[in-house]
Symmetry: C2
Subunit: 134 residues, 2 copies
DNA sequence: CAGAATCCGTGATGATACTG
DNA sequence: CAGTATCATCACGGATTCTG
């Protein structure tokens, strides 16, 4: 990058703008878990950003009923999704991505693109590293 | 897969650009842990992007020797940092952030800003949710 | 100084069974 | 269908000790 001849002022700006020590601890806590991003992502793909519980369950490969429930509860608590309960028989529950929840996906675009563009190199690095160790 | 009814073009574009199903699992795996981002961040702030082991240890509050070692090993394996060993007495080891490692910080800027701007609202949501539950 | 090795508690996750 | 309730597991991280 352009860090040649970096001044203290730049450094200070960098410190203030770049990374907040505490908040981004493990990337905001919840985002680091196994399913949250997947759930948000799936909801964002749905038209009107709503999906039923069972739909999510089917879409997200490998997730258990329990973990989907827990993940959705966490997202609801943070205000990332809204829960719509329809007291029918059988019951129907829809989860809707809020503006807040949609916003975080946008903020993740940069990281997502970066991963897409660099993941193969990372895998290559790992291969080399592991090979050298044996 | 059933795509019946939906605009496949939109959906397809969205799928390709938005989120890669697997790779971003819990955000690229390693990034979700407790210390990795902190370590990268600290290194990025250092001039010439190098710091000694002990320096990192002092800067990152709460990290143990063990976790710093493990985190650095992981980063080295991925090619995010380079390890420079100086066989002196006492030994000195410096860790240098690579271009790859620096790049991921940039890609995290968006998320970082978003968290900074929205974390208070999230906390408020949690407060409300928890209160309603009691 | 920069680690390696070991033990251990805890939280996150998984598997299974039951229910309104 | 959309959960809840239990139990089992397992990786992550912390604390401690030892060493070249």
């Amino acid at each position: 990058m352009d860090n040649s001849g970096q001044s203290k002022t730049d450094r200070q700006v960098k410190r203030d703008q770049a990374f907040l020590p505490q908040p981004a601890n493990g990337i905001c806590g919840r985002l680091g878990d196994k399913w949250t991003v997947q759930v948000i992502w799936r909801l964002s793909l749905a038209e009107d950003r709503k999906l039923r519980f069972s739909h999510l369950k089917r879409d997200i490969e490998g997730i258990t009923q329990r973990m989907l429930t827990l993940t959705l509860r966490g997202l609801e608590r943070d205000g990332f999704v809204r829960r719509h309960y329809f007291p029918e028989v059988p019951p129907r529950v829809e989860y809707e991505l809020t503006e807040l929840g949609a916003g975080i996906l946008v903020s993740l675009q940069g990281l997502n693109f970066w991963i897409r563009d660099n993941f193969s190199r990372i895998e290559e690095n790992r291969r080399i590293y592991d090979e050298a160790g044996e």
